[in-house]
Structures are given as structure tokens and as C-alpha cells.
């Protein structure tokens, strides 16, 4: 069922396009040699070019171009062999040159597409209009001094990719999925770390509403939304606002708006009339960027396996469900972790343990598969092997995981220390079964009279008597035999 907003006189459809600014992972800025590390002391990563000193000239950093081309290839997009840099002119204290170098007329990357998977299992293509390179601005700090603003130029000149989607998105859910998928692809490629809190990924959302079947109505741009959740909330709030405006008989005006997460609403930032005239023109300090097709092919051949392909392979090669495969491929290190463990083991069991108890433990620890000192692939592999060879059963495994989480020990050490080895000694099991059946003679009679549900109860009682360590298969077998 497609997403609609129920209006007073019938449903409204929403139309969303996104402009995502993704900070490129690179050692140096787009047009200068200054470093780009996040969190460095203010103004410690600024070259004379970044600070726009007189006579300083930009020189393109080919590492950033390669990263943008890789991103374009990852989005199945056309790479333009010739692109050009333009100046976007406006005055602001954190924009040292008084212009931002961007690509306006001739972007580096043209049309592409990205596929998203909806909750109902269906998938949709969202078109990519273009991807271009541009510089970031610096940062104004207005809260450091009662009457002055401070400027930090560390970010000034850092390379960004602006990735513009077609207005193909039709629901807040799709917008969230688009952003997550884009983030996953860029992280796979190693071209952007996708960290929205640090501002490495920022989204501007263009929202309009219309009656089903209509052409496009006026859109508003909601700027600088900095989390997936806020993007979804902002779209929802903005779409509802527009529906109210239209239904009240008024016009939605084209403008730039900001999302206020605290109020869950958008507010006007500037109208179309107040919009800047950026006076774009080709930057005369730079020559057009021309790429060698052979170089692009070199980059293409070095592309890693991307999430869609990996997911399909996990389903085919390991027999995983679409859901499990999606979960495992969301982050490349998680997928690698899975493949390390799945070698020589039952893939389904690996997936279940990873996505179940281990994921839960990592969440509690604030760790991830990529970086966890306790639940390394070696440790979890050992745990899986102990389950598989019958040393412990599934229930004990849970306890072992909890113990590992608390103490940081390896699984074998936990099992040894706590004596959690599974009991497979048939004599011991027989003994426990005998004791339980003797104690529960009334229920045994009920069971025999046809209340078969009680079987599980007997299993539970035997396991309890054995401190949880009984081999569940043997316990079942013995009980069945004795109750027959």
C-alpha cells in the first residue's frame, strides 16, 4: 500500500528529492594540501589557500576526484570525461574567498540509480540526477563570546560530494531507506564515513505534495537535516504543513525551511525573493577537469563488491533469508565477519547467533562487529563450535555470552570456569528423568490421559534439575521413551 496523507477531501501523495552532502575521505582538502582530520583544534588545519590569502590559487587534489568517481561508479552513474568548476559567490564570514568552488554547469558524475528495499520486501529504484565536487565552508561559532563570532576554518575547503536524487521518493520511509542505502554504499566504497553526527553526511530535502495523478506542485527545501530519523520526521511534518496550506485554499510558497526537531516542525528560513544570487561563473583559476577513460576503468575494476551484489550472493551461496542477508550486508565489516565465521560452519547458525544474542550484547556494550575486543570472530567461532560439537547447548550459550559480556573472557574460559559443559552422560540423564517423573506422578497421569502439552514441562523440569546442562536431544529422547 503506497504512502498517502489523508486530507479533508481525499488523499495526497508526497514527492521528495534529496540533496546529500557527503564529506570525502581524503588526506588533504579539495584544492589545498591542508589536512582534514575531524576534531582538530580550531584553525589548525588551514592553508593559505583555504584562508584565501591574496594571490593564492587552488590546485585540484586528484585523490578527491578518484573518490568522487568511485562513488559515481558505485551509484551506477555515468562519469563525465569532462567537467568544470564554477564559483558560487556569496559573502559570509566563514567563506574566506567570498565564493565556494563547486560544479554547477558540468558536474563530474551524471545520471545513476540506487535501489531501496521496502519493509514489504519489494524494492524500488531511486534515480540519481548528478554527483558533483565542491568545497565545504568553515564554521562560525556564535556562542563562544558575548559580542563576537569566532571562525574555525578547519573545514573550509574540505572536499564534499553533493549527490542529488531525482524526485522519486514517495514516503518518509523511502527517504530514510534512500539515505541509509546511500550511506552504506559510500561506506563500502570508503569514500565517505557517513557519520551524520560529525556532519560528514548532511541532507537537504525537497518536499512537495500533490493529488495522485497530478503534475508537480511547488516544493520547499528543508535544509541541513542531520539524522535519518530527522529526515523522516522533517518530511512528514513538512508534507502535513503543505497539505494544510493547500486545503485552506492557500498557496505553498517556494522557500528554504529549517527543521526544528524539538518542535517536530519546519520553519521558514528565507523566501524565494530573499534567495541569494550566487552569480555562478566558471572558475578562471582552474582548467576543465578531463579524465582518461582508462583511469576510470582502472577504478571500476578495483570496485569492491557492493551491498546489493553481496546480499544476492549471501542468499545464493549461504541459503540465507533476504532479511538476514540485508542485515548482514548493511556494513562491510559485519559481512566480512560473517563470511569469516561461515567458512566451514553452518551459515544459518552463524547468522542466527550473530544477528541475535551477539548483536544484542554488542548493542549493550556500544560496540560493533567491526570493533569489539570481546566478541571477536575467533571467540564467536569458538562459541559456535562448542554448540555444534555438543559441548554446550543453545541455552547455555546465552549464559556464556552474558558472562563474556560481563567479564570480557573468551567462551572456553567461561565454560571451564563455570563448569557449563553439557551433560551427555545417559546414566545421569536417566537418573534425573526418573527423579522428575517420580516427583510429578500426578502430571504423568494427566499426560498419559492425553494432555500432551505437559511434555515441555517435563523437559523443563529435567533441565532445571540438571542445572541447564543436559543435552536437550538426549533429554527429549529419554523422556519420550519413559513416557511411552
Amino acid at each position: 500500500m503506497s504512502y498517502h496523507i489523508e486530507g479533508r477531501d481525499g488523499p495526497w501523495e508526497i514527492v521528495v528529492g534529496m540533496e546529500v552532502h557527503a564529506q570525502i575521505i581524503s588526506n588533504a582538502k579539495l584544492f589545498s594540501g591542508a589536512a582534514t582530520a575531524f576534531g582538530a583544534p580550531p584553525n589548525s588545519q588551514v592553508s593559505l589557500v583555504d584562508a584565501a590569502f591574496p594571490g593564492m590559487l587552488p590546485v585540484i587534489n586528484s585523490e578527491c576526484v578518484a573518490q568522487a568517481v568511485l562513488s559515481g561508479l558505485g551509484l551506477n552513474a555515468a562519469i563525465n570525461l569532462r567537467s568544470r568548476f564554477d564559483r558560487k559567490n556569496y559573502f559570509y564570514a566563514d567563506l574566506p574567498a567570498g565564493y565556494q568552488i563547486s560544479q554547477y554547469q558540468e558536474p563530474l558524475v551524471g545520471k545513476g540509480a540506487l535501489s531501496i528495499e521496502l519493509a514489504d520486501g519489494s524494492s524500488r529504484e531511486i534515480g540519481i540526477t548528478r554527483l558533483h565536487l565542491e568545497q565545504d565552508a568553515g564554521k562560525s561559532l556564535h556562542d563562544q563570546h558575548p559580542s563576537k563570532s569566532y571562525i574555525d576554518l578547519n573545514r573550509a575547503g574540505v572536499a564534499l560530494m553533493e549527490i542529488v536524487s531525482e524526485p522519486d521518493i514517495r514516503s518518509p520511509e523511502e527517504a530514510g531507506l534512500y539515505l541509509r542505502k546511500l550511506r552504506t554504499i559510500l561506506r563500502y566504497l570508503g569514500t565517505c564515513d557517513g557519520n551524520m553526527e560529525e556532519g560528514a553526511l548532511r541532507a537537504d530535502v525537497n518536499v512537495s505534495v500533490r493529488r495522485p495523478g497530478e503534475g508537480l506542485r511547488t516544493r520547499c527545501e528543508v535544509k541541513n537535516v542531520n539524522s535519518v530519523r530527522f529526515v523522516m520526521q522533517a518530511i512528514e511534518a513538512e508534507a502535513h504543513r503543505q497539505v494544510e496550506v493547500w486545503e485552506a485554499g492557500n498557496e505553498v510558497l517556494q522557500e528554504t525551511r529549517l527543521f526544528d526537531p524539538a518542535r517536530g516542525a519546519t520553519r521558514s528560513m528565507r523566501s524565494k525573493e530573499e534567495a541569494h544570487d550566487y552569480r555562478y561563473f566558471p572558475d578562471p583559476d582552474l582548467v576543465p577537469l578531463t579524465l582518461d577513460p582508462a583511469w576510470i576503468e582502472e577504478l571500476r575494476s578495483a570496485l569492491p563488491e557492493l551491498p546489493d551484489a553481496k546480499k544476492a550472493r549471501f542468499m545464493a551461496e549461504y541459503g540465507l533469508s533476504a532479511y538476514d542477508a540485508s542485515q548482514l550486508v548493511a556494513e562491510a565489516p559485519t559481512a566480512d565477519y560473517f563470511e569469516t565465521l561461515a567458512r566451514g560452519r553452518r551459515a544459518k547458525a552463524v547468522a542466527n547467533l550473530m544477528l541475535g544474542d551477539i548483536q544484542a550484547a554488542l548493542n549493550r556494550l556500544g560496540q560493533s562487529f567491526a570493533a569489539t575486543p570481546t566478541f571477536t570472530s575467533e571467540a564467536v567461532g569458538a562459541l559456535l563450535d562448542m554448540i555444534e560439537d555438543g559441548t554446550i547447548n543453545g541455552r547455555i550459550a546465552k549464559e556464556v555470552i552474558e558472562e563474556m559480556e560481563a567479564s570480557g573472557e573468551g567462551p572456553r574460559a567461561v565454560v571451564a570456569r563455570k563448569g557449563l559443559c553439557q551433560v551427555t552422560d545417559t546414566a545421569a540423564i536417566e537418573e534425573a528423568v526418573t527423579a522428575v517423573l517420580a516427583r510429578e506422578s500426578a502430571r504423568v497421569a494427566e499426560y498419559r490421559a492425553g494432555k500432551e502439552k505437559l511434555f515441555g514441562y517435563f523437559v523443563g523440569q529435567v533441565m532445571k534439575a540438571m542445572g541447564g546442562k543436559g543435552n536437550p536431544l538426549l533429554v527429549n529422547e529419554t523422556l519420550k521413551k519413559r513416557l511411552a
Binding site: P54, G55, V59, F91, Y99
Partner: protein, 496 residues
């Protein structure tokens, strides 16, 4: 012998023979500056201490036999080249407290080869002008005087007027200039010296304060073609710090001075014959062609049909780029800051106080032509015409090896004569602007005097990276013209 009368070639031969020291040569020029600069205002800053220290280093290098090609040669640097640790102003108030912590590539190349910098020379603010009267630090006086009216204070041309006056008055052996619309060639013509605007991309723009990036050409100014050629050898070369710099080997330009021009085809662009051009300039042009024919070249009429659009095109492209290039002077990071109530107020106060009238005029024009709704009609159209102007030259160079034309439509004028109306002033650049728009090299050589005894220049325009042929032709003109006239105000002249 007066050391300040020596050209670069003779001076470096004499230095090599240790006939005098670099220190003596430098001291002679510093003394001339001390005597004449208070009147001429050619230098905005004299760096005597640094110059003498560099001279001593040059003497030591000469003594060791490890001297670079310019060891001990005192030069003047247009104050638009950033010089490390030395105040650089672009003749603007907005950069008044500015000392660059870096060196432009061109001046670094000159230092590498042993040159000595006497100081920084005056210019029209941000190189915007043809008279050096648009300087925040006062105008520069042309050392030449009208025979009939010696009291008139003539302009040295511009924007590299300080450099041209310094070289003409023997305050420096050579100088650096920049040519955006004629700013090397026109002042060279007005001051009776030689100046080269090389091919775009030949000399790095790194560290040169930008006026119009696609038009700014650093180049040499000196008292002979050979001296300019020697300086260009040092200044030129590929620079990875300037993306528009071109990777083409630097030939021995000085050697080109002695190349024969026999068989060369010289073009006469018919569109450069403009109404109202003084007869003596026409006459000099004809003489120039005759001299080249005498040396074995052939003369051909050529057409550069879009010449008449050169000035209007230039006065769209150059201000457009300038309006963006000068946005960085905002009072936030360096240079002048006039406090304001808020950020916008800070900008307005700072830029209002920091920029002169001509700079403000060009920023306004440039902002206008790039504005939404006007861009296509002005900037885009100008770019298309610029491409046609380049095609004019490409077509002409399919028929001829070099072009000959006057450098400027007049000799030096007096302060106030043309400065009232900006458009009249802009017409000064009518013959120089096309080569800037096309990026082709051009050189101005003094070729005669007008009735008032003021120098007039001829320019040779060459193919892209065809500086050698251009220099060979210019050297032939120089030999034939045997221009020996001297300016009234010069080092050791009796009039001071």
C-alpha cells in the same frame, strides 16, 4: 661611468669580470632612488637593507663562481607580487597592513637566479587602470617631459607605471609587471622602455594578487629587448601551484634576439588603423614595417575582424572576474578592518573605506554582468566573443608569423587629461586588450618620439608560446629604431 646607465646584459658581464661589485651596483641604484623617488613616487617601498644583504650574497656567489644568471642585478617589483616578509599592497588601502608570509613564484624564480630586489613599485589599485593615478598612495610621475610644456606632470601609463618609471629613470635595471589589458606594454610605451606580456600560462600567477585571473599575465620590463628576454628566462616556467600554468620548456629567449628574421611574414592588422590616430603613430608604424622589410621579412595585410569588440568584451570579463577575486577583502582575516555593528556592516565599512573609486566601479560592473538575468546577455556573450577574438589570431597566424601594430593610440598624457571620463581612459588599451583576451604573447618596443619628444612604442604580437620569433622581430625593430632618447628625469640627470 654611471653604473645606473648599464643595461642587464652589460651589467652582468661586468659583474662577472668583477669590474664592480653587486654591492656597488645596488648602492648606485639606491642612491638614484633616494634622489628621484620623492618626486617620481615610482617606489611605494624601498627595501635597502634586504637589497644590500642580497647584494653581498651575490658578490659572494660571484666570487665563488657559482652565480646565477641574474646575480647582483637590481630589480624593481610591482607591488602586486607577494614578497615574503615585505609589505605588499596592490596600491590599495584595503591591504594596508599586509605582509605576506609567502613569495610569488615569479619573484622566487628571480631570487633563485640571484636578482636583488630594490623595492615595490606603484601601480593602479589592483592593477585597474592605465595611468597609475588610481593608486591609494599617490600617482607616479612619468620621467619624460614634453618639450613644449616641461612643467606638465605626465602619467607613466599603467597599471605597471611605477615599474616603467623606475626602469626609464634608471632607478632599476629591470622590473616585473603584470599585463591584464595592456598594463605592461602601455606603460612601457609611455616611458620609452621595453615590456613583454608572455603567453598566458608562461609565467605563474601564484602569489600575484589577482585582478582578472584569466587575463593576468606577469612579465618583464627593461630597457632593451635582450634584457627583457633574459628576465623572462628566469621568470617563466611551469608551476604546479598554478593550474593554468603550462608545461612547456623555457627556451633561451636572449639567444632569439640575434635570430634572423629573413623570410618571416609580418602581418598588419587592418582593424588597428583607427580613426583619429595621430599621424606620427601612423608614420612610426610604417617605419617599423619598412625596417622589418629591410631585414628580409615580408609584410602582409591581415584581418582581425573582431578587434572592435575587444574593449567591450574586456570590460565585461575583467570586472566579472575581479568582482569575485576581490570578495576576499572583507576585513575578516587580514588587511584593513573597519569595525561595524554586524557582519554586513563590517563588510560595507571595510570595503567602502578600503577600495578606491575605480575598483568599486569595476566590482559593481562585474557584479552586474554576472547577475541572474544578465549573465547570458553580458558574461556569456563576452566569452563567446572572446573565443572569436582568439580565432581571429589563430586565423591570422595561419598566414603570418607575427603581427606589428602600435602599442597605444597616443603618447603619455598629463594627469587629469583623460582621468575624468573612465571610457576615454579605457580607450588607451584598444590595441593591447586583444592579445590579453587571446592569451597570445606581445612585446612593446620604443620606436620613436612624437612631436613633443615623448616616446612611442610598437608592439609585436606572436603565436602562443612563440616568444622567440616575437623577440627576434622586436630585436630587429630595436636595432633599426636605434632609440637613444633619454627621459628628462633620470639618475644623474642635470635637471634634478
Amino acid at each position: 661611468m654611471n653604473l645606473t646607465d648599464l643595461g642587464l646584459g652589460p651589467a652582468r658581464r661586468a659583474l662577472g669580470r668583477r669590474e664592480f661589485s653587486a654591492r656597488e651596483l645596488t648602492l648606485a641604484h639606491l642612491a638614484a632612488i633616494e634622489a628621484l623617488n620623492p618626486r617620481l613616487n615610482a617606489f611605494l617601498l624601498v627595501t635597502a637593507g634586504e637589497a644590500l644583504a642580497a647584494a653581498e650574497a651575490a658578490d659572494a656567489a660571484l666570487a665563488r663562481g657559482e652565480a646565477g644568471p641574474l646575480a647582483g642585478i637590481p630589480l624593481a617589483i610591482k607591488d602586486i607580487f607577494c614578497t615574503k616578509g615585505v609589505r605588499t599592497t596592490a596600491a590599495s588601502r584595503i591591504l594596508e597592513p599586509f605582509v605576506p608570509p609567502y613569495e610569488s613564484t615569479v619573484t622566487a624564480n628571480l631570487r633563485r637566479d640571484g636578482a636583488i630586489f630594490l623595492g615595490k613599485t606603484n601601480l593602479d589599485e589592483f592593477a585597474m587602470g592605465s595611468s597609475t593615478t588610481n593608486s591609494a598612495y599617490g600617482s607616479t610621475e612619468n620621467p619624460w617631459k614634453r618639450r613644449q610644456d616641461p612643467a606638465a606632470r605626465l602619467v607613466p601609463g599603467g597599471s605597471s607605471g611605477g615599474s616603467a618609471a623606475a626602469v626609464a629613470a634608471r632607478l632599476a635595471i629591470g622590473a616585473t609587471g603584470t599585463d591584464t589589458g595592456g598594463s605592461i606594454r602601455q606603460p612601457a610605451s609611455f616611458c620609452g622602455i621595453t615590456g613583454i606580456k608572455p603567453t598566458y600560462g608562461r609565467c605563474s600567477r601564484y602569489g600575484v594578487i589577482a585582478f582578472a585571473s584569466s587575463l593576468d599575465h606577469p612579465g618583464p620590463m627593461a630597457r632593451s629587448v635582450e634584457d627583457c628576454a633574459i628576465l623572462l628566462c628566469s621568470m617563466a616556467g611551469h608551476d604546479p601551484l598554478d593550474s593554468t600554468s603550462v608545461e612547456v620548456p623555457v627556451p633561451d629567449y636572449a639567444a632569439a634576439c640575434n635570430q634572423s628574421i629573413r623570410g618571416l611574414r609580418i602581418g598588419v592588422p587592418r582593424e588597428y588603423r583607427v580613426d583619429g590616430m595621430p599621424a606620427e603613430i601612423e608614420e612610426m608604424w610604417r617605419s617599423g614595417l619598412a625596417w622589418l622589410e629591410d631585414a628580409g621579412a615580408t609584410v602582409h595585410d591581415v584581418s582581425l575582424p573582431h578587434t572592435k569588440y575587444g574593449l567591450p568584451t574586456y570590460y565585461i570579463v575583467a570586472p566579472a572576474e575581479a568582482s569575485s577575486n576581490l570578495a576576499r577583502y572583507d576585513g575578516v582575516r587580514y588587511g584593513l578592518r573597519v569595525p561595524g555593528e554586524d557582519l554586513i556592516d563590517l563588510y560595507e565599512e571595510t570595503r567602502g573605506a578600503g577600495f578606491g573609486a575605480e575598483v568599486k566601479r569595476r566590482i559593481l560592473i562585474g557584479t552586474y554582468v554576472l547577475s541572474a538575468g544578465y549573465y547570458d546577455a553580458y558574461y556569456l556573450k563576452a566569452q563567446k566573443i572572446r573565443a572569436l577574438i582568439l580565432k581571429d589570431f589563430t586565423d591570422a597566424f595561419a598566414q603570418v608569423d607575427a603581427l606589428l601594430a602600435p602599442t597605444a593610440p597616443s603618447a603619455a598624457f598629463a594627469e587629469g587629461e583623460k582621468t575624468e571620463d573612465p571610457v576615454t581612459m579605457y580607450l588607451n588599451d584598444v590595441f593591447t586588450v586583444p592579445a590579453d583576451l587571446a592569451g597570445v604573447p606581445a612585446i612593446s618596443v620604443p620606436a620613436g618620439l612624437d612631436a613633443d619628444g615623448l616616446p612611442l612604442g610598437l608592439q609585436v604580437i606572436g603565436r602562443p608560446f612563440g616568444e622567440e620569433t616575437m623577440i627576434a622581430v622586436a630585436a630587429q625593430l630595436e636595432r633599426a629604431a636605434s632609440f637613444t632618447a633619454l627621459p628628462a628625469l633620470r639618475a644623474g640627470s642635470p635637471t634634478i
